[in-house]
Every structure is written in structure tokens, then in C-alpha cells.
Amino acid sequence: MLLIGAEDEEKWLAEGIAGIQHNAFYLHRALDSNNLRDALKYSAQMLSELRTSKLSPQKYYELYMRAFDELRILEMFFKDESKHGVSVVDLYELVQHAGNILPRLYLLCTVGSVYIKSKEAPAKELLQDLVEMCHGVQHPIRGLFLRSYLAQISRDKLLDIGSDYEGDAETVMDAVEFILENFTEMNKLWVRMQLEGPGRVREKREKERSALQELVGKNLHVLSQIEGVDLEIYKETVLPRVLEQVVNCKDDLSQYYLMDCIIQVFPDEYHLQTLEMLLAAFPQVQPTVDIKTVLSPLMDRLSKYAASSADVLTEFLQVEAFTKLSNAIEKVIEMQVDMPAVGAITLYVSLLTFTLRVHPDRLDYVDQVLGACVKKLSSIPKLEDRWATKQLVALLSAPLEKYNDTVTALTLSNYPRVMDHLDNGTNKVMAMVIIESIMKNNTCISTADKVEVLFELIKGLIKDLDGATDELDEEDFKDEQNSVAKLIHMLYNNEPEEMLKIICIVWKHTMAGGPKRLPFTVPSLVFSALRLVRQMQGQEGDIVGEEVPATPKKIFQLLSQMIEALSAVPSPELALRLYLQCAKAANGCDLEYVAYEFFTQVFVLYEEEIANSKAQVTAIHLIIGALQRMNVFNVENRDTLTHKTTGYSARLLKKPDQCRAVYACSHLFWVDGQDGIRDGERVLLCLKRALRIANAAQQMASIARDSSGPLTLFVEILNKYLYYFEKGNKQITAAAIQHLIELINTEMQSDSATSDAFLASTLRYIQFQKQRGGVMGAKFESIKL
């Protein structure tokens, strides 16, 4: 029986509408014949249809609207005294003779509005009377609609009263008093709906109540429309009274809706000036009220308002808006013990957004907000809630976006503490956001302290965090580490000393990164350090005292540590390359022993770690290239190194590789430049050895595959010959070249191989040199093709 079927409800509604229509018909007849007695009789009967208890609020509303339309017509009739011949004063009594309260009060309100308009009695008294008489209807739905009718019908009169008599504060107050009174009663009725009936239909009831909320809120809307309601009245009367009602009703739905309503309908300026009062209400509402969705729009509105003009901004400072908001939020969180983390964080996000917009210069405020958030989060070690995490990311991203300068965020002491509350995955995401922000804004981080903070922030990327068990996506990991590598390049200071500090700090952090990360981070760091070395090299003229800690030597020590760590990973090929880079830098600094040490490391690596033949080939070529340019070594050291190199070259696995490495080694003995070594004999030795190996390779190929290998090796060697020939190596003669060309030709004929493009262009080059004339032409003259 309690759960009324929708079908029945439709039926009852139809019956109600029919009843209204029926009586409205006679009402119209009575109005047409100016018969007041009948008009009152039929209108009362018509209104009796509204006495039903069977309809849900939505259906009741339909019924109410039907009656409402009829009442407008009746009101017109009442207004025209010539039609019914009864003064409005008498009419006001006459309608009160009706025995049933609901029709009586509807009629009373209708006549009352005419009465007010006539100004035959003070509006204040009439309004007071109407709002008082409406106490007779205690049924929540019927009472709400009746009072809503009262509000509706008196609305235009109130606006007149509130605005007509400018400066007459008393009349304005009358109107305000009336609305407040009506509002209070409506809210009470509305809240009472919740208590009606059994608990199991609570959900349905709440839905029904929500449908009625606008009836209550309308009062506030009217208040906001009355011109006479200035800040003074709002502050002294309207807001305190409304808030009192909000707090006292102890109903979450009502509190939520009304707070939101206050914020929405009244101007921002008022909110700003009454901020303290408004905010004081929030900690007092029920713990189940979703404060964040009310308070956030308020802060949002205020911050937009602040942006509207500079004058407004000073007002914000005057009223200490930030402090007030911040205190309020703290209190709310304190009171609402059960508020989920996401709620609290959302509040802080809003507050932070507000702060950033209104007080962009007050970093301490920003830090304060973050600090408060940390305090709240301290009870929860890690956030599990996805939404909360999302909000936290928003909280952390906001300052980055605002300041376009990540350095600012680094000065916020609470920033890293907030980050600690993120789970590992999100922590990384956040770290990436920070790095991206730095990259986007091309921010240079130039002090060791900031670097320290920064690395503390992004430690999720730098090392494995405790309890990190989640599977890593290879691609993501690469992206992350590449970002870190990029970031390292953004850390820069012109002062070598500071820069060294920075490097040390970065190293301290990155070294904890483990084998997977080092290959990404170490190269960046090494090059960053080498840049410093080169910079100091440029400043060599400066006095470099003993006390100065930043010396190239020191840096090189650090470098070798780094690379050693890398080689232990193991990542020998990378380490080898870095060693070579360092050796080159040491060369530039004229530090022979350092350079030698690096080379030693290179060879150790080559011997012990690089087993792959392909890698060996590459390594050898790198070594040759690097060694060739070294000029710090004395003869003995150089000999040792070149010897080693040529030795390893000849011991490569594949013949062609051997061959190529060996002829490359020839460059070790022929260095361009003023004091370069020019040992033509050893060059020739290398080339001859290369030829031998090429021959052997050729033979091996013909035996193994029954076809001679390509002539490429020979052509390559020919090119080397030509190179040294041009460079003026006396050991390389035209005859030797001639001999080599013939050798190649013979090989070609026997091999019947197709003509080789490389060879052809080489020959064309010789031809070209011959025809060029001059010294070079003369030199090439003797070579016959």
C-alpha cells in the first residue's frame, strides 16, 4: 500500500485535474456575471483539489500549476472593484470565511497581493499577516506549494517595495523580513519531508525532495533581485539569517543545496565582503554534506572576480581572503572526520587555484596550501583512490602551469612531501610532468640546492622506490629515462664551482639508479661534466689556486667513477665510448696521465668485456679515431698505445675486418698538423700488411665459396695509398700505386667480375688529378692507367 503505483497516481492526477476544470468552468461563469459569492465558492472548491495527499511532488506540481493559472484570473477579478463592488479590505476578510484551510489561504494570498498593490494598508503588516497565517499548513508538500505561491504572487510587489522607495531602508527591510520568514518556513517544511514515512523509501523521498529544492531556493533568488538589498543589509540581515537556517536545519540535502544557492545567486562582491561569515557556516554543516562541490565553485568564482579588475584585487587583500578560505577549509576537514581524501584534496586544489590566480606573488601561500594538504594526508600513507590521486596530480600540476618556471615549484618546501603521498606509478607520471614543464619552458636550473630538491621530487624516476613491484613497460621506461637524461642537460651554472656541485649531486642521485638506468643517465652526466671541463679549459688564464675545488683533475676523477659504474652494469661499449670522450677532454686539458689512464681503461674493457666480434670492430675503429687525435702523449706512451691498437687490429676475427682495421691503423702514424707524427715507413708497413691480409681474404673466399671475394678491400687500400701519396708520404710511390692498380686489374680479369663502381670512380679520380696539372698533376703523371 505504501508503494503507490505510477498508474494509480496518474489516475488520481487526472481526477484532480478534472475537479479543477469542473470548478473552473463555474468559476469563469461567476466571474463573467460578476458574482463574487459564486466566484468565492467555486474557487474554494477548485482549490480543495489541492488538498490531496496521494500525489508525488511532480504530479502535485502539475495540479498546482492548473490551479495557479485559474488563480491569476481570479486575481484580475479581485483587482477590479467595479466588478464585484466589495472593497479590498472587506474582501480580505471575506475570503477568510472559508472553512478549509488550504483554499482559504490560497484565496487569502491572492487577495493579499491585490491588497498590497492597492496600498490601502501598510505592505509590511499584510506581508507579515500572510506569512504568519500560512503556518496553518504543516503538511510539507502542501505547505511548500502554498508558500511558494505566496512567494510567487508577492514577488513583483516585493521587487516594487524593495526598489520603489529608494533610500527608504525600512520598506526594503520589510520585504526582506518577509522573504526570510517565508524562506525559513519553507526550508523547515522541506527538511521535514525527509522525516515522513518509513526509512526504506528514503532514497525515493530524497529524489522527490530534490525536485522541490527550487521552490525553496527561489526565495533567495528573489532576495538577490531586490535592488534595495545592498551589502549592508546582506551582511547584517540576509546572510546571518539564511546561514542560521542552514546550520540549524541539520539536513544534508538542504545544507548542500542552500549553500550552493547562496553562492550562486548573490554577487561575488558580497561574498568577498562577508567571506568570514559565509565560511564559518561550512564547518557547522552535517558531515555528510559534500562541501567540496560547494566550496570549489565559490573559490572559482572569487578568483574570476579577482581577475576582473585591479581594484577588486586590493579588496581581496584587505579582507584577507586567502587566510579566511584557508582557515575555513582546515576547519571543515577537521570537523568532517570521515571526509574521503579525495574531498579534502579537491578542496585544496580549489584553494590552490584561487591562490595562484589571486596571489600569484605569494609563494608562501602556495606552500601553505600544500603543507595543509600534507598534514591531512599524513594519516594515509599512500593513496589508493584513483580519484584522489588524480586530484593530487592536479594539485601538483597547478603551480607548474601557473609559473611556467619549475624553479618556483622547487622552492616550495611542501611540494616533495605532497609527492610522497602519490603511489609509485603516479609519482612517476608527476615527475614526468615536472620534467616536461622544465623542457617546455627551457628552464635552466642553476643552483645545487634546487637540483637537490628537483631530484628529490623526481626520485621516482631516478631509482627504484620501496615496494615498487609493478611491471614496467619497456617503452615507458625508456621514455622516462630519456627524459631524465634530457633534464640533466638543463642543469647548468656558469660558475664552475657550482656546476661541479650540481654534477656531484646529480651523480649522487643517479648512481642509485641501478643497472637499468645508468646507461641512460650516465652519458648525459658525463657530457655535462665534459662541458664543464672544456669551459674551464677556456678560462685557463685565470688563476687556479689550490683551494679551488673545481679542477679538471677532480672532474676527471669523478668521471672515471661514473664510467666505472657504467662498465660494471655492464655496459662496456657505452663505457668505452665515454672513456674515449674523457680521454679526448683530458687531451685538451693537457693531462697526459689522465688521458693515458682513460686509454688504459679502454683497453681493459676491450680485453675483458667486449667479446662480440662486431662490437670489437666498432671499438677498434673508435679507438683508432680517438687515439689518432691525441697529442699529449710522449713517444713512449704513444708507442705503447699504438702498438696495442695495431696488435688488436690484426687479431680481429674476420679477415676483411682485420684488413680494414689495419689500414685504419696507418693513420696513427700520420697525423696532419704542425707537430704531428709522420712516420711514412710505418704507414707503408700497415698498408702492406693490409694488402697481405686482403690477399689472404681473397684466397679464403675463393676456396670457401668457389668464387673470389669482392675487390673492395683492394680498392679501399688503393684509396689509402692515394691519400698518403697526395699527403706527400715519401714511402708511397707512384710505382707502388701503379703496381696495385695492375694487381687489381689482373684480379678483375681472372675473376671476370663485373666492373666495380668504387674502382671506376677511384680510377676516374686519378685521371682527374693527372689532368689537373700543377704539382699534383705532375705527381700523378707517372701513374699509368
Binding site: 488538498r51 476578510e93 477568510q96 470565511h97 472553512g99 478549509n100 484551510i101 488550504l102 482559504r104 504568519e132 497565517m133 503556518h135 496553518g136 499548513v137 504543516q138 503538511h139 510539507p140 502542501r142 505547505g143 523547515k188 521535514r192
Partner: protein, 302 residues
């Protein structure tokens, strides 16, 4: 046949006219047959004067033993076989025995008539004033004509008129205080008051106020009481909560009330009560009745 009808017709027509009949206020009264007619209105100790005209039909001669006019104040008890008790009886002889040949007019006057009671039409009792003209005859019976008139007596506003205020309730269940602004109301008065709810644990559906009239009559040794509800006025719709105060404003003018009558000629009393009735959702009624006095102010006779 016409002759026969003529024979039963009264021999003359008698008309009674008050000397200020044109200006005197007339108020409607209900007759037994349900019709209302307007009757002249008097008050205590007024002079009642006028003219009585006797006009014989078609030149008939009326022989009589005298003509008189009586002013009677009567109480009629329906339960006592319709017996009349005259509490006032005044007589004026208009003519000595003789014959009336033509239209004759007799002036009459009762001066400063004591009419202490108001005209009243109740359930079991009626109090009325009447002028009775009798043309006494030896044969054919006397010719009698009546004329009803009304008496209203006015009271000055009472010097003491306290409000009615009372707390009532059922322990731990319902506790209210009601207040009516006065204990004495005139006929066109408004009852203003409020009902304050201290405690409500029952689900109240409605609250009404009723005006009840208690008419008690004495016939011989037996006492008879008749109660009517003259007004039923809804004060509240729905269930109030603690601390609610419900206004009362009841206009008395729409209802057919009379002043309170106390022990009229030891025959009857009429008393009025305000009855506050609360009905809960189960249909149970809770009520409290308070007596009020109703009086008539001058110039409230419409």
C-alpha cells in the same frame, strides 16, 4: 359554493401597524414553514405604539364584546407539548362592547415595555414576542390577529474580558497550549489566537476549531440539553512539529449565532463553546472545549 366560502371568511380584516413602521429596522426571522420574513425589531423598554385597523367585509356589521390588544412575551417548549409560558403579558382595551359597521382605527401604545429577553429560535425552545389583537364575539368565535416582532438587547462591551489560555496534553505524547484573545466575543467579532505545540509525538492530520451551542431546557423536573455544532473551521493541515505555533483567526459573522443566554425565565439557557479538535492519522480525536460568552453590541442586527 362562493357563498359557502364567504361564510367561513373572517368577518373583518385586522391590520396592525407600528407608528414608526416605515423607519423601524426590520430583520429576517425564520418561520416554522422555513420561510423567512422581515419583522420589526425592538429593544427592551421601548415604547411600542401603533394603530390597529378593523375593516368589516362588504359592509357587514360586527357585533363584539370588546376589542383588545395584548403584548405577549412567550416561551414555547417543544418538548412540553408545545406549551406556552407567558413571561410578559400587557393588555390594552381598545373598545367597549358594541358594533363595528365600518373601518375603524384604534391607536395603541405600550410604553417602556419590559422585554428583558431576546427573541430566540432554538432546537427545543422558542422565545417570541407577539402583538395579539382580539375582537371578542359571542358567536362565530373571536377574531384574532397576531403580529410577531423581534427583540434584541444590547450589551456594552464587557469591562473585563480576559483571554483564554491553557496548557493541555497527554503525558509524553502531546502537549499544547492554546490561547484565544478574549473570553467574550460580540456577534461580529473575530477570534484571534494561537496553538503552540510543546510536544507532539503523535502524527496529527488536522486541527479544527468548532463553535458549539449548548441549549439546555427545563421542563418540569427534567433537564434537557441539546448541542449543535455551528461552525467547523480548519486551523491546520498536516502534522506540526515541536515548537510550531499555529494561528487562529475565526470571523464570527458568517455564523448564525445568538448572544449567550443564561437561565432565561428559569426555562432555558444557551451557552457557546469553542472546541479545539485534533485528529491523528488513525482518526482518533483529541479535543478541548472552552466556554465563551457571546454578546450583542448595538447596531449589530443585520
Amino acid at each position: 359554493m362562493n357563498f359557502l366560502i364567504e361564510a367561513f371568511k373572517p368577518a373583518c380584516s385586522i391590520s396592525i401597524k407600528f407608528s414608526d413602521g416605515k423607519t423601524r429596522k426590520r430583520v429576517p426571522i425564520k418561520r416554522e414553514n422555513g420561510q423567512t420574513l422581515l419583522a420589526p425589531l425592538f429593544r427592551n423598554q421601548e415604547n411600542i405604539a401603533g394603530k390597529i385597523t378593523i375593516e368589516p367585509h362588504q359592509g357587514k356589521r360586527i357585533e363584539h364584546n370588546g376589542v383588545k390588544v395584548e403584548l405577549l412575551g412567550q416561551i414555547e417548549m417543544y418538548l412540553d407539548r408545545g406549551n406556552f409560558y407567558d413571561f410578559t403579558s400587557l393588555v390594552r382595551e381598545l373598545d367597549v362592547p358594541g358594533d363595528i359597521y365600518e373601518r375603524t382605527t384604534y391607536p395603541f401604545e405600550f410604553s417602556m415595555v419590559e422585554m428583558p429577553y431576546e427573541t430566540y429560535n432554538g432546537v427545543n425552545v422558542r422565545l417570541r414576542y407577539v402583538l395579539k389583537v382580539t375582537v371578542s364575539r359571542n358567536y362565530g368565535g373571536s377574531i384574532i390577529e397576531y403580529l410577531n416582532f423581534l427583540v434584541h438587547n444590547y450589551s456594552p462591551p464587557p469591562s473585563i474580558n480576559t483571554s483564554i489560555k491553557m496548557e493541555v496534553g497527554i503525558e509524553d505524547c502531546l502537549h499544547i497550549e492554546f490561547e484565544y484573545n478574549k473570553s467574550k466575543y460580540h456577534l461580529k467579532d473575530v477570534i484571534i489566537g494561537k496553538i503552540y505545540y510543546f510536544l507532539v509525538k503523535i502524527k496529527i492530520k488536522t486541527m479544527d476549531i468548532e463553535i458549539r451551542r449548548r441549549e439546555s431546557t427545563v421542563t418540569g423536573a427534567t433537564n434537557h440539553v441539546e448541542t449543535e455544532t455551528l461552525a467547523k473551521f480548519e486551523l491546520m493541515d498536516g502534522a506540526p512539529v515541536r515548537g510550531e505555533s499555529i494561528p487562529v483567526r475565526l470571523f464570527l459573522s458568517p455564523y448564525e449565532l445568538t448572544p449567550t443566554h443564561r437561565n432565561i425565565n428559569n426555562k432555558f439557557s444557551v451557552k457557546y463553546y469553542l472546541n479545539l479538535v485534533l485528529v491523528d492519522e488513525e482518526g482518533l480525536r483529541y479535543f478541548k472545549q472552552q466556554q465563551i460568552t457571546i454578546y450583542r453590541l448595538p447596531l449589530q442586527d443585520t
